[in-house]
Structure formats: structure tokens, C-alpha cells
């Protein structure tokens, strides 16, 4: 195992903190809210321009 591989292996072992919200649950909620907002925007877009 060369130096680079060892470095990579060590970096895998340590799970870093989850950025921005500190939890993946918050990320999942964000994703759902964004999807909902997109669908609402698309409904508005369809009604306004079609």
C-alpha cells in the first residue's frame, strides 16, 4: 500500500460532519421542499403561459 493509498484509507475511516445542516434528515426535508416548490412553480408557469 503506497503513501497515497494509506492517506486515502485514513480519510475514509473518519466520517466528516455533515455540512450545512449537521444532519441528513434536514437535507431530505430540503430536497422534498424544493421538489414541492418546483412543482408549484411549474403549475403557475403552465397556467400563466399556456
Amino acid at each position: 500500500m503506497d503513501k497515497q493509498q494509506l492517506k486515502d484509507k485514513l480519510s475514509q475511516e473518519i466520517e466528516p460532519p455533515i455540512p450545512l445542516f449537521g444532519s441528513f434528515k434536514a437535507w431530505y426535508i430540503l430536497l422534498l421542499l424544493v421538489l414541492l416548490a418546483e412543482i408549484i412553480f411549474f403549475i403557475w408557469f403552465t397556467q400563466n403561459f399556456s
Partner: protein, 581 residues
Amino acid sequence: MSRIDWIVLCVTLLLILTYGLYKSRTSKNLEGYFLSNRNMPWYLVLLSIMGTQASAITFLSAPGQAFTDGMRFVQYYFGLPLAMIVISISFVPLFSKMKVFTAYEFLEQRFDLKTRVLTSTLFLLSRGLSTGISIYAPSIILSSLMGWDIFWTNIFMGGLLIVYTVSGGARAVAYTQQLQLLIIFGGMFIAGYYVVHYLPEGVGFSEALKISGASGKLNVITTGITEKGFDWKDRYNIISGIIGGFFLSLSYFGTDQSQVGRYLTAKNNTQSRLGLLMNGLVKVPMQFFILLLGTLLFSYYQFNKAPVFFNGAVVDKAMQTSYAPALSKIEGEYNLLQANQQQYSRAFAATQLEADKLLVQQNRKTMDALQKEYRQVLKQAVPGADTNDTNYIFLRFVVDHLPHGLVGLLIAIIFLAAWGSIAAALNSQAACTVIDFHIRLQGKKHDIANEEDCLREYKVSKYYTLAWGIFSIITAELATGMGSLIEAVNLLGSLFYGVILGIFLVALYVKKIQGNAVFVAAIIGECIVVLCFLLDKWGYIGLGFLWLNVVGALAVVITAWLLQKILPASVPADAVSVTVN
């Protein structure tokens, strides 16, 4: 193409090729070659996931799809963010914990060897064929528009990327995809700018939207519900988009090695998940903007002369036949209507009155009917010719109207988009062949401490990558006209994806079902999917292809559950508990 276009095209392609070779340095073992030593940050994982999914077809077909059918295609991606969440919760932690190279390795630990081999075979079969289409699709369009020889276009489209994919494996693939996407997004933005810039004076972005909206092109949300109830045959609506799109995305991102191989390159679990979740955030808006480009293009052609049929090569052939007078007559009538449409569109852009809108709509309907008639005559004049010109619309605009230099750049973008997805596919196909077949069926354990073994496996992996590259080019050379190619690729995927997903769903969520039951269920499930596809094709049932993913997955889960009650249990000696609790 002008000299400057050729220079831009060659320089861009050489830049990627050189960059790919420059980034080829990796550890000479399987971990380095297939997983880039698992050291990628989330943003490289994200770009690699996006670069793998977005093929040349995405950038060629999507604007054309919006031009002809409107923007409702975006609904197809509504299930994707939901799938990203499920994969982040269930699939990624398991793959990461088990340190697998391929998604199918997990199936042997959960079930048995035969289930792993069957699933890997289904993947190789579908991915092998669709990689061929990914080469052929842009090649046939470029060769028709530019007059290039299809044989050599296929060779260049599928051949040059093999150099860096064979040499650098997953690392070279990820780094080139990063640069490719930057160039692609830059080029598409410039093309969009020119479409709006070329609109007549007094017609801005908002007026352009109103004009395409008046012709029904801004139908982003459709329900698929008719007077007779829900239309199962309707391909893109919010219901099939969320449910069918969810199953397709879950299968594609959770069980297709070309995608699993991308996020397995991440430094850790967190980076893999972040890459996937970010993909869920950006995919729908990205697709929306690509489709919007198509509707802007539609508006542009309401003020400018458009060909009746965008694939000039087919028209040229038809004009050599006895059908030429009939075609010329339709063209004449179409041109008159087009002149009227320009007037009506200008009036509507200026006044926004309902009466003017009605004129635009009625005239458009007559034009569409003439286009349909023109296609039917083309079909009679050139039997076997592809009379669907969706894939030619955007590139025809590029070639006919964009300034010198930009044409070369946009054509380079088609190559780069194709390279990104094909390179990832070749890398994943080689990974499955080496890990699931070559090493596994030899009965040898993969020993990372044995340098000689590692080097031999590394070399074998390179040969398999090369072999799959050659196979894909041969498939591309053998491919023939298949209508809208973006749909052909998705349709091909849908024939296998549902079943593969069903196997993984059983593996992850239904603890009591074992190998024999799921294996037989997978075979029965595949037969059911093919049967549904054929019944739909022959007109006995009406089922949009997105639903095949749902049918396949549910067929496997239900059949496996029933079979488990009948078949004797068979627990492999080394089976481990790997289901989601």
C-alpha cells in the same frame, strides 16, 4: 463547417483527451482503476453522476422534444429527487459498509452467486446495448447534418474516449467529466443567448414565452387524465413522472453500476450521499432550462423561416424520387402559412390580445397538419427512413444560424456529452466483467496485499475496458433508425431496470426471501415485462414505457414473496445479515 469551426472542434476534443491522459495516474490495482482509491469529494461525485446521466442525446433530443411536444418531458424527472433520498438512506450505507466494487457483489452476500451473476448479466446486456446507442445516436445526427461518413463518425465518437478511459479508469473518467460539463453548460448557455438575441426587435424573452405558450409548448404540468379516466399510454405526466420516474431513477442510480461506480469513488459515506442529494437538487431545474431552450427555439421559428422537416438528408433523398412534386407542393403551402404565422406572431407579441392568440393557434394547427402530411409522403418516398426529426431540430439551428466558431464548439459539446456517459459506462462494464465474472468465477479471492496479482488484475481490467469499447462501436455500426433516440435509450433501460430494482428491493427490505425464490422471480418478472411491452406494441394494452419499471419491480417482489412460501429455503453458509432494518 468553416476552418475556424474545425479548429475549435479539434482543439476542444484534444484538450479533453490530453486532460484525461494527464489525470490518468492512479494506483495500479482494482481499487485505483475502478474506484479511484475512493478519494473523491462530493462535488466531483456530483459532476460525475451528472456527466454519466447526461449523454449527447440529452442535449440533442431534449430541446427538440420541447419544440415538438412541449415541456412536459420535465415531469419524467420528478421521481428523481425522491429516489436520491431512498438511495442515500438504504443503498449507500450498505455499499459503503461492505466495501463492494460492484452493486451486484452485495447480492451474493445477501442471496447467492447465481442471483449476482444473473443481475450482473442483465446489467451488462442492457448497458452494453445502450452504450452502442449512445454512440450511434449523436453520430447519425452529425453525419446526416454535416454529410460525414457514419462509419467514421461512430469510430471517432466511441473511439477517442477509449484512450483515456482505458489508461486512467474511474479517475480519468471523473476528471474529464468535470471539464466536459463546464464546457457543455457554457456552450448551451451561449446557444440560448443567441436564440433570444436573434428574436425580432420588440420581442423579448417574455414575449417569446407567450408565443410558445400559445402553441401549447409550455405545458410543464399535465395530469394524463382524460374524459375516459387516466391514460396509461400517456408517456409524460405528473403521475407517471413521480411514480414511474421514481422507480426508474431508483433502479438507475441504485442498481446500475455505471452510476453506483461513480458514488463508490467518494471519500466516504457522507460525500457519496451529498453528491447524490445535490444531483436531486439540480437535475429538475437543469432539465427545465434545456427544455426551455427548445421552446425559445420554437418561438424563434415563428418569426423566421423553418424547414418543414429538419433532417435535410432524408428530404434530399426524397426529392430524387417521383414524390418530389408532391413534397414541393406541400412546402409551397407551408411557406405561405409560415409567412402568415410571422405576421400573426408579431401582432400577438405586440398586443397580447386573445384574438391574435387565436390566429396564431389556428394557423399553427394547419401548419402541423401539413407537416404531418409531408412526413407521410417522405415515408412513401424513402421507405425505412426515420421520419421523426426531433433530434435534428437543435443542431440544425446551430449549423444554419450560429456564428463561425460556435458551430464547432456546439458540435464539440455533442462529442463531450457522449464521451462523459460512454466512458463511465465502459468503466462500469469492465468492473462488472472483472469483479463479477473474471475473478469471481475463477474462484480466487481478491488479495490487495499481493502486488503481482494486483498488477495482473489491473492489466486485465484495461483489456476488458478496451473490449467493451470495441463492442459498443460495433453495436453502434449495426444500429438502425429508432425514432426519438432519447426514448429508445430510456425504453431499453425500462425493459431491464424494473427487474433489477425488484431484486435489490427484496434484498434490502424483505429479510425472509432467499436466493432461489428471488432468482426464479427475476426470470418470471423479466418475462412479464417483455410480455407487457409486446402487448403494448401490438395494441392489446396501452402502457407508457415508464410503467414497465413499476411492473418489473413489483412483479419480482410479489413473485419472490409467493415463491418463498413454496420453494425450500436455501441459506448459503457465508450469508450475512445485510438487509435494512
